[in-house]
């Protein structure tokens, strides 16, 4: 299937839950509602014609002060899917508000989502509901804040951890 066929098939199945689609140089993207996210991902993984058996990456984007997106939902969580069987790709995005930054977990679908979701929690402070062990991945427990948020001050100093003089 080509990228536009994939998007058309998903639109036919999920209808208005897919709020936006676009493509850039042949890479197709769908934006889904949070309520339909896990169902869409599961369908993408299990349907034979799609067979997205690999989650390449799971990350997030902070659109605070982004031109044209000032009043929209602040965060976007991005899933990069790849099918080894069919050699095709799809990006799935879900938008979340700052004061309700929660997304259902994808760990039951792809075990790799465990660490990727911990990284997103670490850097952006987006929680993943149902994650088995949502701790910081790269930073340490004493760290205050989430450094890849656009409102994290670049010159904020964290307290030193461990023994001191």
């Amino acid at each position: 299937m080509t990228g536009s066929d994939i998007v058309a098939a998903l639109q036919q199945r999920f209808g208005s839950a897919i709020v936006e689609t676009h493509d850039q140089h042949g890479d197709h993207t769908i934006v889904v509602l949070r309520e339909a996210l896990i169902e869409a991902l599961r369908h993408g993984r299990d349907a034979g014609a799609l067979a997205f058996d690999m989650l390449c990456d799971l990350t997030a984007v902070d659109y605070l002060k982004f031109p044209g997106r000032e009043d929209g939902p602040r965060f976007e969580v991005v899933y990069h899917l790849y099918s080894i069987r069919h050699n095709h790709r799809l990006r799935v995005k879900v938008r979340v508000e700052e004061d309700d930054a929660v997304v259902p977990t994808a760990v039951p679908l792809w075990p790799i989502a465990d660490w990727l979701e911990r990284e997103v929690w670490d850097m952006f402070g987006i929680r993943f509901e149902g994650h088995p062990d949502l701790r910081r991945l790269l930073l340490y427990e004493e760290f205050v804040g989430h450094p890849l948020r656009k409102d994290y001050p670049i010159n904020r100093r964290q307290p030193l951890i461990g023994p001191k003089i």
Partner: protein, 152 residues
């Protein structure tokens, strides 16, 4: 100065002279400065000429702690522990701008100079420092050792 003081100062300078030519270093290498450290240690620049040719990979056998490379906040307790494990007398060299001031890593993850964690005797700036400046720093450290300027 009495005769006793004369012998004490002569003994101190003899010990200082011996120590400055038997530097056993502990290279705490975390980043790209390590390549320049290796270049300095190898035969072309040859820090063995200064008696510093034998790195010890146990802090308990080392006199000089070479902190080579960026120290993150997560690494800071490890560095402090290694420093505490070294026996007296001991000296610390900050190798490269990352260890001196944090360098261009002015961000959330990097310690802004290792002197916020442990005392430092010699700072070698550079990103990374040329072997010549490393040797210059080493000779400055030798002067400091010979003068008996170590903390107990």
């Amino acid at each position: 100065m009495g005769l006793g003081g004369f012998f004490t100062s002569k003994l101190d300078s003899a010990i200082g002279w011996a120590r400055k030519y038997s530097i056993f270093q502990y290279p705490f290498v975390t980043a790209c400065c390590g390549m320049e450290y290796m270049a300095t240690a190898c035969s072309h620049y040859d820090i063995d000429r200064f008696g510093a040719g034998l790195p010890r990979f146990s802090p308990r056998q080392a006199d000089v702690l070479f902190v080579v490379g960026t120290i993150s906040h997560k690494m800071a307790p490890v560095l402090k522990r290694v420093y505490d494990q070294m026996t007296e007398p001991k000296w610390v060299v900050a190798f490269g701008v990352c260890t001196c001031t944090g360098g261009f890593y002015d961000n959330y993850a990097t310690v802004q100079g290792i002197d916020t964690i442990i005392p430092v005797d010699v700072y070698i700036p550079g990103c990374p420092p040329r072997p010549e400046s490393v040797i210059d720093g080493l000779m400055k450290l030798q002067d400091k050792i010979a003068a008996g300027a170590q903390r107990y």
